[in-house]
Symmetry: C2
């Protein structure tokens, strides 16, 4: 069974019966059904395939993450190496490889993964248990560490097994995962151990496994783990760090480790849709509101503190010291898309767009083989170490090929190939368009099958033409997301302006009878916007950020050799967007005039009464593309200063 077949079968199930429990949420249109043809994402998929995929596997081998399985399988002699959760990186790499293979079949790579899967399967113990750390380094101690990172790893094994099965029809790894899930269900549960994993992940994976297998025990176990939160062994065990300070139904604020939070909330969102439990929805809505109105960077980065890799107080969003882990951004993407499908509300897709185009994409270099673990909103470049701003280890402000705790690179590999899966969502005869990206897709609705062709230069230009070819022709509702960043969107149908289009939860809804060749044109004006920040974020008072379309911009020293942390943008400076096909793989930059406080002209006095700024032209680039050149200063939030009319002309 190949991927396309499997997907088609699943779509049928979802639409006509077996998936009826999931009517609580829109269905995503699988990424394999959407062929990207654009100049933004398609080149990145090529890089993921040719660079990131082999890179991640090379490092999984080089760091003996894969060898740990060979040792556990008895294929080679040796010790376990690395962290007790390193198995998860291999599983995530396999999951990512499966998605790449779904888009770009490759016999050689498939063989390689199959060989690896054989080793993983050989490492599994007869009762289904599989964790190389406990098998090799701590034999006899399985399920004794009460954080149960075995469950975290197991979740990633399930996701990998499902991905490889859905791509290739091969069941080996899925069966390994299911056997492990069955073993887990024999250890944990209402009539077994009343405990939960410290790091959520297995919950959302079990729900995926249930969707594939329809075995109720997996859904029950996922729900059990979610509900055990805050009451494992009858009490909160790990506190806010692991969202374990109280039962999920009583949680109102986003706290603790950001990745843990996102994975938990994602599972909770699935359960809200599946069970229809209104308490779950109330909790999710409160958590969401707390996150987006108090604890999210403009880039969509979340989790400000290196100390807990997570959340602190509301409005505590420092720029240079921001942590904003790449995995947490990916986690927010994963949660926000579920909230969008649960609520049929575009504002969740707005956040998805914000994080994916900015704070998640910044996590991988344009070349695909260097990564950021932390994604700060300002940097002093090479001086960072001297300033004690944490340039060591995972929080380094410059890209590295790998990390000792290597969660981010394989997370990049497993997330971005599926970007096409976030473009559309469906429910009955309603088709939701969440992302604008030049592409061709085939989407099955209740009464018709539609071929959708998007022509657009998004995110660089705001014009989108969407051709709708239904087969057969008929009534359906097209819901186009009007991005939250956009003022003055215009719609036309077959060249005729559409006025008074119904707006529902951020979507423009066009309900009519469609016929082949109908073209909807959406015009999203994309001026450069000065964004200001809630003043409770003290670090951004008096500062502006530049945004154009969905892209948040930053100033980087590579384009501004005199530095960027000494610049201030006048309140009335003209800001001009300019296409630069030569730069950073092709970007639109923003250019304008600024004051530069010139150190050379300043002399030897640290403090002086008279300002002596000079006019300087600046160039801003999209944030996602920073730190792909020489290390240097970078900033997203720039001080805003007196108006340009007060600015002296540059010296002759």
């Amino acid at each position: 069974m190949n991927r396309a077949w499997a997907v088609a079968a699943l779509a049928l199930l979802a639409a006509w019966g077996a998936g009826a429990e999931e009517r609580g949420m829109l269905s995503a249109v699988d990424f394999t059904a959407v062929r990207l043809e654009d100049q933004f994402w398609k080149p990145r998929l090529d890089v993921l395939r040719h660079k990131t995929l082999p890179h991640v596997f090379e490092w999984c081998e080089r760091t003996n993450r894969i060898r740990n399985f060979e040792v556990a399988a008895g294929q080679v002699a040796g010790q376990h190496e690395g962290y007790y959760f390193n198995d998860s990186d291999v599983y995530k790499a396999v999951e990512g490889a499966a998605y790449v293979l779904a888009l770009y079949p490759d016999a050689e790579w498939q063989k390689r993964i199959e060989r690896l899967i054989a080793t993983l399967a050989a490492a599994q113990q007869p009762d289904g248990y599989l964790n190389t750390y406990f098998q090799v380094a701590k034999p006899g101690e399985r399920w004794t560490d009460d954080r149960f990172h075995e469950l975290y790893c197991a979740g990633h094994l399930m996701e990998a097994g499902l991905a490889f099965f859905q791509t290739t029809g091969q069941r080996t790894l899925l069966d390994v995962a299911a056997r492990y899930a069955d073993h887990i269900a024999s250890v944990f549960g209402p009539s077994a151990r009343l405990e939960a994993p410290e790091h959520p992940e297995v919950e959302l994976a079990l729900i995926k496994l249930w969707r594939q297998t329809h075995a109720p025990r997996y859904l029950d176990l996922a729900k059990f783990f979610v509900e055990q939160r805050g009451q494992a062994r009858g009490r909160p065990a790990w506190g806010e760090y692991a969202q374990d300070h109280r039962p999920v139904r009583a949680q109102t604020e986003v706290v603790g480790h950001a990745v843990r939070a996102m994975y938990l909330y994602s599972a909770l969102t699935d359960l809200a849709a599946i069970t229809g439990d209104p308490e779950y929805v109330t909790v999710l809505d409160q958590l969401w509101q707390d996150l987006v109105s108090r604890k999210m960077y403009i880039t969509g980065g979340i989790g400000v503190s290196e100390q807990n890799e997570g959340f602190t107080a509301g409005y505590d969003l420092p720029n240079e010291k921001s942590y904003a882990e790449t995995c947490a951004s990916i986690g927010l993407a994963v949660w926000s898309t579920r909230m969008n499908r649960l609520h049929r509300d575009a504002r969740y897709a707005d956040v998805f767009e914000r994080v994916v185009y900015n704070g998640a994409l910044s996590g991988v270099a344009l070349a695909g083989d260097q990564f950021l673990y932390a994604n700060p909103l300002a940097s002093r470049g090479a001086d960072a170490a001297k300033h004690g701003s944490g340039a060591e280890g995972e929080s380094a402000s410059h890209r590295k090929p790998w990390f000792k705790c290597a969660c981010c690179p394989p997370n990049v590999l497993r997330f971005f190939p599926t970007i096409g899966g976030y473009v559309y969502a469906v429910e009955n005869d309603a088709l939701y368009v969440n992302l604008y990206v030049a592409s061709r897709a085939e989407v099955a609705l209740q009464s018709t099958k539609v071929t959708l062709t998007q022509k657009t230069a998004y995110p660089w230009e705001g014009r989108v033409e969407l051709r709708v070819d239904p087969e057969p022709s008929g009534a359906l509702s097209l819901l186009l997301r009007i991005p939250g960043w956009c003022d003055g969107a215009r719609l036309s149908l077959n060249g005729e302006a559409l006025r008074d289009v119904e707006r529902t939860k951020g979507y423009a809804r066009i309900s009519r009878s469609w016929k082949a060749g109908d073209v909807v044109a959406l015009e999203l004006p994309m001026p450069v916007v000065r964004v200001e920040c809630d003043p409770r974020v003290r670090d951004n008072v008096g500062r502006v950020a530049l945004q154009r379309g969905p892209l948040v911009y930053c100033l980087e020293q590579a384009d501004n050799p005199g530095g960027v942390l000494n610049l201030a943008v006048p309140s009335d400076a003209a800001l001009v967007a300019e296409q630069r096909p030569d730069l950073l793989g092709g970007v639109t930059v923003i250019r304008g005039s600024a004051w530069r406080l010139n150190a050379a002209a300043w002399g030897h006095q640290l403090y002086r009464p008279a300002p002596m700024p000079q006019r300087a032209e600046f160039t801003a680039i999209p944030y996602y593309a920073w730190d792909n050149r020489a290390p240097g200063e970078m900033t997203v939030w720039v001080p805003e200063t007196p108006s340009l009319t007060q600015m002296p002309a540059p010296p002759e």
Copy 2:
């Protein structure tokens, strides 16, 4: 021998012979010769006497710092308690008490100190060694810890012994100190151990001891310790942290622990004056330039990092995370006054004024019994802990009565009573006026004795009348410091404007024959000045600080209930100085209009395109007076924003 007699004798020695080695430097006019009659310092002396003095002794007792001596003396049984350098706090308290007694004789307090001194003397071992930690907790291990904090404590013992002798004529503690110094000279030296203390202090104390006793061995030992720096046991032992990375003659940058640095440079400045060694002067000039042009806060605070209680890279001057220890500010005062007297240059006295009126004075509460260890330039108030900005322990951003490492409170007690000693300095028949403070002083010059009477409301007003009464009448040079912060100073003599007055190294020099009743009037305009910062200090780009006269201002929440970290001052806002005798012991505040970014009006969107600032009146207070009311936000550097003309009127 009472203090006045001793001082007079010393002044004679300095001027006519025995002190001839010190011709390299102006002579300070002792604080006991200057009677303060002003409304700024005099009330603080009263607080020091009535509150700080008993408070410090109470805490030295409560924390068993004094009991450690009783244990060492065999007067009571027990263990040593606290740090191995806690003896120094007792010595500093005694030194401070001696200065207070010199100004305000008090038989009861003198008896109390005499009793304490008897205990200190009883604790001294027969060979002169005295350190309660090593005597009680580590018997047999004296001089084995290669950091030799025994020498740090010994230095403070010498300063205490000298102070009490100079005030009372009683030799007991001075003899204890001298015996200890003799013991030290038997352990360390060119023909003994080639080592040096990790924490400088004994060097400047030995020079003071030499000045009193004229025993060359003390001067030689001081010089030996200074020269051993960077080559103890033939190699750098403690690195930059202790200014031990290289020999002092090769030091060019201010590095490491700030207090250590200031005490070392102070001793080096004394030695430069005494020996006339030009290499010392070159080193000092380089270090000074590095400090004031790259590493000093506008408040005179120094040492930005909590990690090393010291210096980092140049221009690394974060505001909220500033450490700027109170003791380091006092250390800078101590060094800068020596540099002023070495170079006869007013710019060093400018720095003395900056630090004493701002970053040092902020270290003690107006009430005298609460202290700041760290003196940040911005604070979030009660939220600090939640934001992880180090609200625990010594770096707490709110005042505490005491600290586990309690160096700052007794340092405050021993520094501020001597403030009158920084007003004047003399050399031959030249009289330097460094501070403006209402006072009456008797100063012996080479050919005449002068009574000096200053009438002024400085630092609140810039007019100073200085009446000069020489006895006999005759020629002398009066050198008046024209503060670096001042533009357009005007001078008059007996009501007639003086034009084209000679300026020499920041002083206006009036050389003439003076007769009783001559009055010089100095007019120092004191507008509110917006100070900007070298843009290499990235944290202050786009921000201004308000200064008036020598006082740096801050905005504090107590005066601005809506918060201060959400304010921005327009570039053309009128800034008005206003006397507030009712506020904070009587201060001049600065009032003006600002933008307030109002969180209540902002709604639930973290980021939005349109700014919605509101006009708000703000009040700024002198920085030294912050944190004397309810904890709240505070900032020195405020964002500067578009001009007031763009500001909408406040709503009706």
